[in-house]
Symmetry: none
Subunit: 188 residues, 2 copies
Amino acid sequence: MVCRGAPVAFARQARGNPCGWGWGVDGFVSHYTSRLDAKGRVSIPAPFRAVLARDGFDGLYVHPSLDVEALDCGGHALLREIHDLLGKLSPYSEERDLFSTALIGTSEILKVDTEGRVILSESAKAYAGIATEVTFVGHGFKFQIWEPGRFLAHLAEARSQLRDFRKQLSSRHVAPDTPPPRQHGARE
Amino acid sequence: MVCRGAPVAFARQARGNPCGWGWGVDGFVSHYTSRLDAKGRVSIPAPFRAVLARDGFDGLYVHPSLDVEALDCGGHALLREIHDLLGKLSPYSEERDLFSTALIGTSEILKVDTEGRVILSESAKAYAGIATEVTFVGHGFKFQIWEPGRFLAHLAEARSQLRDFRKQLSSRHVAPDTPPPRQHGARE
DNA sequence: CGCAATTCCATTGACGCCCAAATTTTCCCA
DNA sequence: TGGGAAAATTTGGGCGTCAATGGAATTGCG
């Protein structure tokens, strides 16, 4: 079979999106871009919806991202991550307070309509600079919503840093940290 | 088969394949070129499909290569490489966010139809400059998809650098890529 | 009573999946 | 060693289903 599992079928991709099943490779993968309609509604990509359904959370948990001008979204898995993070900080520390404020205080739980659409609040759109289009970006246990243009810039930056990071790693051990199939001429 | 022997029989080849043992050495080996049909579908070379089947991953995991303008593809083995890298970072660190953006956010899981074909997303094709033809290049635990022309250029560059590199190492053993068993015109 | 927000319904167009034919490649036999 | 038959792949299409959209109806609130 090609990809079942999801009660939802797969993906489409209106404006240049990848595909996806979105079952259980554990989370949100890939990215999708779509427009807000006249009423400000946006369809959550079907693959992501499948993950959310699996997660069992009713609605969509959303909060401004800590480091970037985007929105972090998810369900129970995301809440759990937040909870775990807070749990590691001392109860009344200033740091914990800050995180709590940022992660919980500013969050909202959006309703998802029958068609899988949500309406972002004005403040959320303002924070991410969203106007007419948004890009959903999978991050495994959560996904982010970006203004397309900003995402592209951020992505370029991310790739650049990752490249540098990898060079550091490669200087350590010649062999990739991937033992699986022994490679032959895996050259590059 | 037309050519066996060298896992590297680099040369052009209209659309067909060179030495394709793609049997069971547990990895993607050799390279193949094929066209996209009217619907934008491309058949994954049978040998590669066999490897994927062995890998057990349903679908094809794809993400833009960090180093070159090509697409890295694979199954669990590739996925694991990425997962392992991210696993070393803490959930809410800025670093992890950056990496998952570049790795998970840009990844796609393509569905493979009954005939072993996939449809590359627009963004993927744009990244690799793919239009009507693609070249599949084995890299052991993963394989890359290139725009034929770019691959040839990349190959020439790679060989050139490898040659220089070898000169520095001085002798020691004969030319690695000039395999013992002489091959007749490995198809050109 | 009017405006607005929400829910439901219908249409459009992709995309997933299946079936069939044309080539190409492999293997066997003369 | 050449030819030929069989099998496997690679192609091309067609059809059905489902997701994305847009609009209309209903309900709640100001």
